[in-house]
């Protein structure tokens, strides 16, 4: 096991390092000769050292610790990038093409049919590997390390843990003659299984995907506990129902805070600084518009006014953009309140861009009877990556690897509902 040496006292001009295994302290005689890849072993216990940076402590000229992430309300311009003297803004981009994706999908379908569906998981891993490898952040590509075998095992476990109980409880009345009360009880239990399944799938799928994703060779990880998320999820829905939906933005923000703040890149944690009140106005406006339009439609239909049916067109033409506006607000708020070290993410999503994206996707799918799916995926990936950036000082060279073990059941659970890859 490698033990990483760390500076014992950064104020001491003589560099010293401690062995984490035997706690012996050593003085580095020629610290100027240290190179990023230099290695050695502890003379006492034999533990291995690796130099992680030529300069082991931040210079006094760069007081990083005193800085703070830029405010989400005043992010640096997304389009112009870094301002003079400010740390450079790191951008995301996607380089994949629809044609390549279509070719991969065709081969996957062919092999899936030939193997009676078994290849589906290997195909899925292949597509995901491609999508990740085409996504860059600060000029470096992501890498996906999951395998089809893991996805298949996860699916089987999820079927055993949730699928079989859910379908058995739900379909018991088809096979057995049951009294009404017992049938209702079994249906309620099936509903409970499904209700439990959703949060467990969300949190464990994220755990699995994080550990199988790397950037510059460093893995991501998710360290939130499932039971904590379950508590948050149940409490969130309870208060949302109790307050007739008013609590929903708070619930969503808490959910995002849990997911983001338990996510790590190597040994560095992401943080979330958002609060439900930040989404309250857009949510209330959208909710009010929804109620107003639905009541208007209901009244015109109830009183059988002339051309009452025309009011139904308000639903896609008014409520559609309204909910897309809310979605854009939500995604931007979530990203703008996510920080990594001293840097803050910034999202340039606007409702107009989001609406244009969705309308374009819809038109593509309708015109091509769905065959444009790979191009829709590429459009989505390009859109989300092009609107995302990381602003503020970040020294990613300081990030160290930390390996964690994760079960694949969560991913299998996610497969059951096909929650897919999202950018939330």
């Amino acid at each position: 096991m490698t033990t990483i040496g760390t500076p014992a006292d950064t104020t001491d001009p003589v560099l010293k390092i401690d062995c984490h295994q035997c706690h012996t302290r050593y003085r580095v005689r020629h610290s100027d000769r240290l190179t990023p890849s230099a290695r050695s072993t502890c003379p006492t216990c034999g533990a291995r050292f690796a130099v992680v940076s030529p300069r082991l402590a931040p210079s006094k000229k760069e007081p990083l610790a005193k800085a703070a992430p830029p405010s989400p309300d005043h992010p640096r311009s997304h389009s112009t990038g870094a301002t003079a003297g400010a740390p450079p803004t790191k951008h995301c981009s996607f380089h994949g093409t629809g044609g390549t994706l279509l070719g991969m999908q065709i081969v996957n379908i062919c092999l899936s049919i030939a193997t009676l569906g078994a290849y589906h998981f290997w195909g899925k891993a292949k597509i995901r590997r491609y999508l990740f490898s085409q996504t860059t952040f600060a000029g470096d590509r992501f890498a996906y390390h999951g395998t089809g075998k893991e996805l298949y095992q996860g699916f089987l476990k999820a079927m055993l843990v949730f699928g079989v109980p859910y379908f058995s409880l739900g379909a018991a009345h088809t096979f057995l003659t049951l009294p009404k009360w017992l049938d209702l009880l079994l249906q309620a239990l099936a509903g409970l299984v499904l209700f439990l399944y959703v949060p467990i799938a969300i949190v464990n799928a994220r755990r699995y995907r994080c550990t199988r994703t790397s950037w510059r060779g460093i893995r991501f990880s998710f360290r939130g506990r499932t039971q904590d998320f379950l508590k948050l999820y149940f409490r969130g829905w309870f208060f949302t129902v109790l307050t007739l939906g008013t609590y929903y933005p708070y619930f969503q923000t808490q959910r995002q805070a849990f997911l983001n703040s338990h996510t790590y890149f190597g040994n560095q944690r992401f943080h979330f600084t958002g609060h439900g009140s930040g989404l309250m106005v857009p949510f209330v406006v959208t909710l009010f518009m929804t109620y107003a339009v639905l009541i208007l439609c209901g009244l015109t239909m109830a009183f059988q006014l002339t051309n009452a049916g025309l009011t139904l067109f308000l639903i896609p033409f008014i409520l559609g953009p309204a909910w897309i506006w809310l979605l854009g607000q939500k995604q931007r708020y979530f990203w703008n309140h996510t920080t990594f070290g001293l840097a803050r993410f910034s999202s340039g999503i606007t409702w107009q861009k989001l609406l244009t994206l969705y309308l374009g996707n819809l038109a593509l799918l309708l015109v091509t009877l769905g065959f444009a799916w790979p191009w829709v995926t590429v459009r989505n990936a390009r859109f989300f990556t092009s609107t995302l950036s990381l602003q503020g000082p970040t020294n990613l060279d300081w990030v160290l690897q930390e390996t964690t073990v994760s079960s694949v059941t969560g991913e299998g659970l996610s497969n059951l509902l096909d929650t897919g890859f999202d950018m939330d």
Binding site: P36, I113, R129, T174, L176, L366, W373, L396
Partner: protein, 380 residues
């Protein structure tokens, strides 16, 4: 060929990107780090995880997880490795493969098309037909009971033991042609004006009052019942469920990661498949029903006559087009039946006397309904 290739090295422990120089030797990649340290990566221990697609940087990994990695923007490195170590480096992606891959993809597309058509037309119906005998009858009976509870509840049924017994004679005449059948056929009459009849799995057959009043003779009624009984004997409901399940699996295999916008398209494809299989079952029920009539020494002309009445009663072009219907076109069905019926039989059996027939048709008259009877193209 350059002797040294510039690339980036990731040590797997830190996120630092080191600029390195790679030298290709016949047995291994030699990595020269900026500090002067060198590393030897034997080709057979290197894994290529990226760089198989155009525009993608080449990523080579080495050692156990978290692995060390080398990332290089140009795929020319791979060509150089292939040249330097043709045997040991053959597991690396070859740029010449990309043209072959395009050809294989086109072959796969053709293969997908053939497999889908094959499975849709023959594979799925054959699999369903093979699997159906293994489905327990008890399951069909439970399902049938639920269907009856829903579509023909006791409160809507016409209960007159004497008349139902006479009606049962018609059923008996037909079921005697299947003496080894495990099904116990039970007939119910529902007080509804529609001209319709249906079979539920497990041996339950339901006819609606409208149909009873529309048929001109017990033989015509027997024709309709023969069709419905064949749905039971051929286990069409079970087959339909198996076919629908198999179609869903097929579409899931095809769709893969597709979701959202395509969900409608997939549902449409599934429905079209169900309709196609339903029409096949109807044709089979027609043909086997007619053979049942012949085996019961009943005149198939009565069955054909009733189908003719149905065709004449329906408004022309009122129904959906053939490919959107659960039943084949009535003209096509009639033509098939006429072709199969052959010359009129000589020793036909008369099912009921004229008085009994009149009596049976008043089975539900205790609850008269003055509404006009809708005529459905899909009937019987």
């Amino acid at each position: 060929m350059p002797t040294g290739w510039t690339a980036h090295y990731l040590d797997g422990r830190t996120a630092t990107r080191h600029r390195i120089t790679i030298t290709i030797t016949p047995a291994a990649l030699q990595l020269l780090l900026s500090g002067g340290e060198t590393k030897q990566w034997p080709y057979d221990q290197i894994r290529q995880t990226q760089g198989a697609y155009s525009g993608e940087p080449v990523r080579l990994e080495f050692g156990p997880e978290p692995a060390e990695a080398v990332v290089m923007s140009t795929p020319a490195l791979l060509t150089a490795i292939h040249k330097a170590a043709p045997t040991m480096g053959q597991h690396f992606h070859s740029l010449s493969c990309r043209k072959t891959r395009m050809r294989w993809t086109l072959c796969a597309a053709l293969g997908v098309l053939c497999m889908i058509i094959g499975l849709y037309r023959w594979g799925i119906p054959t699999m369903a037909a093979v699997a159906t005998p293994y489905v327990p009858l008890a399951w069909e009976e439970t399902l049938g009971r639920q269907v009856i509870e829903h579509l023909a509840p006791e409160t809507r049924q016409c209960h007159d033991p004497d008349r139902l017994r006479k009606l049962d004679q018609v059923v008996q005449a037909l079921t005697t042609t299947h003496p080894t059948s495990p099904y116990r056929i039970r007939l119910s009459v529902v007080d509804a004006p529609a001209i319709n009849a249906f079979a539920a799995p497990g041996g339950r057959v339901v006819i609606l009052r409208g149909l009873l009043e529309k048929t001109a003779s017990p033989e015509q009624l027997a024709g309709v019942l023969a069709h419905e009984l064949q749905h039971v004997y051929q286990r069409h409901t079970t087959r339909a469920i198996l076919e629908q399940t198999a179609t869903t699996f097929l579409l899931t295999a095809i769709s893969g990661d597709l979701s959202g916008g395509l969900a409608w398209g997939l549902e449409g494809a599934r429905t079209m498949g169900s309709l196609h299989y339903s029409r096949t079952h109807e044709r089979e029920a027609d043909v086997e029903g007619l053979r049942m009539m012949q085996a019961a020494r009943l005149d198939p002309a009565a069955m054909i006559a009733f189908y003719g009445i149905m065709q004449n009663g329906a408004e022309p072009h009122a129904g959906p087009p053939d490919f959107l219907s659960t039943h084949p076109d009535m003209g096509e069905r009639l033509a098939t039946l006429i072709a199969l019926a052959g010359p009129p039989p000589t020793n036909v059996v008369t099912l009921l006397s004229g008085e009994d027939w009149k009596d049976i048709r008043t089975l539900c008259r205790l609850q008269p309904d003055s509404r006009p009877a809708p005529v459905s193209l899909d009937l019987p």
